[in-house]
Amino acid sequence: MRAYTEKIREIARRLLEACTVERVLGFRRGSVPMMNAPCFVKTPAEAANLVWDSNCGINLANYLTSRSEKIGIFAKGCDSRNIVTHIIENKIRREQLVIIGVPCHGMIDRHRIAAMADGEIREVVEDENNIIVQGDGFKKVHNRHDVLQANCAVCTHRNPVIYDELVADLVEEPGDVDRYRDVREIEALSAEGKWDFFDDLLHDCIRCYACRNACPLCYCPTCFVDESRPQWVGKSQDPVDVRTFHFLRAYHCAGRCTDCGACERACPVGINMRVFTKKLEKDCLEKFGWEAGLSLEARPPLDAYRPDDPDDFIR
């Protein structure tokens, strides 16, 4: 990862010195462990603040919405797919971007690592294969494959799908990954079983909207949850309101979500709301042969009509 960081700084410096872009979007070290923060770098000197390691799970496409200047952006597989989605949804133009692809080795799960620690974590460092976690009076070494974010463990597009240059050689994409086992397990439940499962899943939600704010797809100027005329959904902690928020947000992401995991990562209470978006992702794949963000030419399923679109639920 050190090699990535050096290359990233070098590329950012070069782009800013040559004035190819006005700013470069990457990550700087966060103020607490495992929380690298997205940052815009505007001068060649500031490029030295950029870093890359296994804590860059935030989706940088989120910061491109409706920007007008020329931007250099570092993009993992998932970021690149959300950049494509942003471009086809006219939220940014391809010509405005210099995309520097970062072939990805997966990001680590801060919730899981914190849960396994014996106290407050002071420092997390990593080498090629291990994540070393240290705090007051304890030290733990995890194999990085054991502590990947759940979405990264099943990711099949680690390499950027669109880029102008690369930080390193492309990585090998994992071959036979079962992406939807969790979704199938929920699908197999009875109606009542599903109801209880979701009740349980969302029980701790405090409706802080961190998941929505971290999401590159959730760029509406006024989100439906914030509207008051009409008020689509109650603003309370009532389980019905919480559930309505989550289901509706998931539907707004249908055919667009790349399972980058930004929502789950952002959640302060560790809710796996990805099961909703993943269900829709699975439906899009099975019913429309669609995976979001892979091509600038293809139109997403909700945007195109085909006479053979499945419609057997309508009578």
Binding site: A191, E192, K194, W195, D196, F197, F198, D199, G234, D238, V240, D241, R243, T244, F247, F313, I314, R315
Partner: protein, 49 residues
């Protein structure tokens, strides 16, 4: 999502298809009646102590 199949139904009826509308409306009513009162997605008034 936890709602019984049958409680939510979709159909596509043109304004010229009065008979289809009647059929569908009757069928929906029957299915839903058979399912009984809905207990989910119902907001109860906050209980005051």
């Amino acid at each position: 999502m936890g709602i019984e199949p049958g409680r939510l139904q979709f159909s596509w009826i043109s304004s010229a298809e009065a008979t289809k509308f009647v059929e569908v409306a009757q069928a929906v009513t029957e299915t839903v009646k058979a399912l009984g009162p809905n207990t989910h997605f119902v907001k109860h008034e906050a209980k005051v102590a």
